[in-house]
Symmetry: C2
Subunit: 347 residues, 2 copies
DNA sequence: TATAAAAATGCAATCGGTTGCGCCTTTCTC
DNA sequence: GAGAAAGGCGCAACCGATTGCATTTTTATA
């Protein structure tokens, strides 16, 4: 017995006195094959230790059962939750994930997109890098009608499906909440407005101010990468203001910046929320560790990943049509915690 | 011009009046082909918009340039850092990552391993699930001599290469540090000792106790999944002890449990580190948010991922031989922070 | 029972690179 | 300048599954 050669459908065919074609069809549950024959084939395959060769299959069928996932960074709580959600769905449906990160660099994003295209992924799930301005590098996918689903950081006016939350209303809700707590000088730590998520959060914040007749103070809008350092810097910025010109609340577009800003302010003796109320975004684990706990928006990564993967797979299986769906908006609730509770407001 | 057919090496061959074989060799930098011809081929490929078909290639060459990564969970800071490190190296060397999670379930681990084997990954990078007892499901890899590299949670007495840190000495160092701070009743929150990492951390802790003539108190060794809940439960356990029987320090095998234990104890008015000193493990972001900041072991996930990927790729490229390397131990330093500083000890 | 219709199976081309082997040129050596 | 060695390239088989179409077998219909 030749230990080292792989078992192929030809071996099964020979073993059962059938043709390779029949075996192939039998293994793929082709209704053209009779039940009895199919069973014999499946049994034989099992007993012979057959493993289908995905290359041969993909070469011919042009299907890879592989999804490409391209994200800015792998190592954030949100993104790893997204991936976990995707992996779960994909795995359940017999799909594999090829994952790559752009490290917030358009060039790397282009390269990775090209690789995935070349690897003939059946679909692409992508969240754009910090400075991606246009998505012409995805044209090959569009041309070949390979489904692309954007999530979180999506391009403006695109025809592909996007999985998002309503960043505008989430930001609106959080700003409204701060206002209702009695805050009137609300600072916003925002990200690059090139990215929809940050633009929309900014818009929601501004709209809430308008609706409550509060002025939008230019110096209270800081743009950064929302890193730890950015949070610390924002604190420095606040501390450098004369006390009477300081904000009485800070709404940060992510939890990291909020938390590091809080830490720095606390270190200088400011009280939270008495002196400055705080709100973040994402519901990162650190938001439940900082004291006081951080009010935030629960942005459920696993559900985002789940939804994105489910939709693209359903499209691939012909169960639905992505091209008719423009965007799917998931709910993202305001989670009120102590960092913003100036009054004895109860949830 | 047939818009829809892919450009193949045959097109290039025809275009240049060469054979497909030469084109193939030329594209693969085969020295058998002259420099001039090679350049012509590469140029033609570019201008014709050629994209190599990886299936055809893999089918024949039996190489996929794909690495399988199998982890317990994707969504922890440590693991996502590991993945980021791996992705970076892999990408740089033209390898892709297929990532799957076992969700701490052996059965899912087996299934995923089988899928990856079937997808013919060139190598497997794996960290075992919480309750994996044996690794016979990896035998197919061993039999076909597909390199397997374990990291973090590695099997005992295995012949494959493992990327680890010295959990024993890290735990020893941290326990020693607590003892030097004057603690003598040190509790240990540990994980399942089936997993090397937890067993070794327990051993290091015990050895330090012995070396300093401190008794190992059975009730001070709690085993759990080290989740947030487990941390909270541990706090409850401590609070339920009569004050004089309580520990004066807690060494947790991860930061999550440590932090949630701290939070719960603080809520009950215990002072840290005065009443109970704390130390964790991993250097998770939350360790720098909790107040006081948590003393911990810096377990650098990105370096682990980087090392694992580099080693397996070098092996695949024939630049080194994994089979001669049994294990690679990375440094993991003690990071002393306020949670354990009872004296005015300076780093 | 003959015949049409339907079901089941086989034939053989195909997907697109890869590679052992052989053939034809150069280049080198004495 | 003859013979050997090296260099450059092509032939054709191959990797293993898929699939349109032809063929055979079975079932249904008259």
């Amino acid at each position: 017995m030749p230990e080292d050669r792989e078992v192929t459908i030809y071996d099964i065919a020979k073993y059962l006195n059938l043709s390779a074609a029949t075996v192939s069809r039998g293994l793929n549950d082709n209704p053209m094959i009779s039940k009895t024959t199919r069973k014999k084939i499946v049994d034989a395959a099992k007993s012979l230790g057959y493993q289908s060769n995905t290359f041969a299959s993909s070469l011919r069928s042009k299907q890879t059962h592989t999804l490409g996932v391209l994200v800015p960074r792998l190592n954030s709580h949100f993104m790893s939750s997204v991936l976990a959600g995707m992996e779960d769905v994909a795995n359940r449906h017999g799909y594999n994930l090829i994952i790559a990160q752009s490290l917030e660099d358009v060039e790397k994003e282009k390269l990775n997109a090209a690789t995935m295209f070349n690897k003939r992924v059946d679909g692409l799930l992508i969240s754009l890098s910090y400075n991606t301005k246009e998505i012409t590098h995805l044209d090959p996918f569009f041309q070949r009608k390979i489904p692309v689903v954007f999530f979180d950081r999506v391009p403006p006016h695109n025809e592909s499906t996007s999985i998002v939350i309503n960043n505008f209303s989430a930001a609106y809700a959080i700003t409204k909440h701060l206002i209702e707590q009695g805050c009137s000088r609300i600072m916003h730590l925002g990200g690059n407005v090139l990215r929809n998520v940050y633009q929309e959060r900014l818009n929601g914040y501004q709209q809430a101010l308008r609706d409550y007749n509060l002025p939008f103070i230019e110096q209270f809008h800081l743009t950064s990468t929302l890193s730890e350092q950015a949070g610390t810097d924002a604190a420095r910025y606040i501390l450098d203001l004369p006390p009477e010109e300081r904000p009485d609340a800070v709404f940060s577009a992510n939890d990291t910046a909020a938390v590091y800003c809080m830490l720095a302010l606390k270190a200088e003796g400011l009280r939270i929320p008495e002196d400055v109320a705080f709100a973040g975004f994402n519901n990162d684990p650190i938001s439940r560790v900082i004291e006081p706990n951080l009010t935030t928006i629960d942005y459920p990564g696993d559900i985002v990943g789940n939804t994105a993967a489910t939709n693209i797979i359903n499209h691939l299986k012909g169960l639905s049509n992505l091209y008719t769906t423009n965007s799917i908006t998931l709910r993202a609730d305001l989670v009120i915690r102590a960092s913003s509770l100036k009054t004895n407001y109860k949830n």
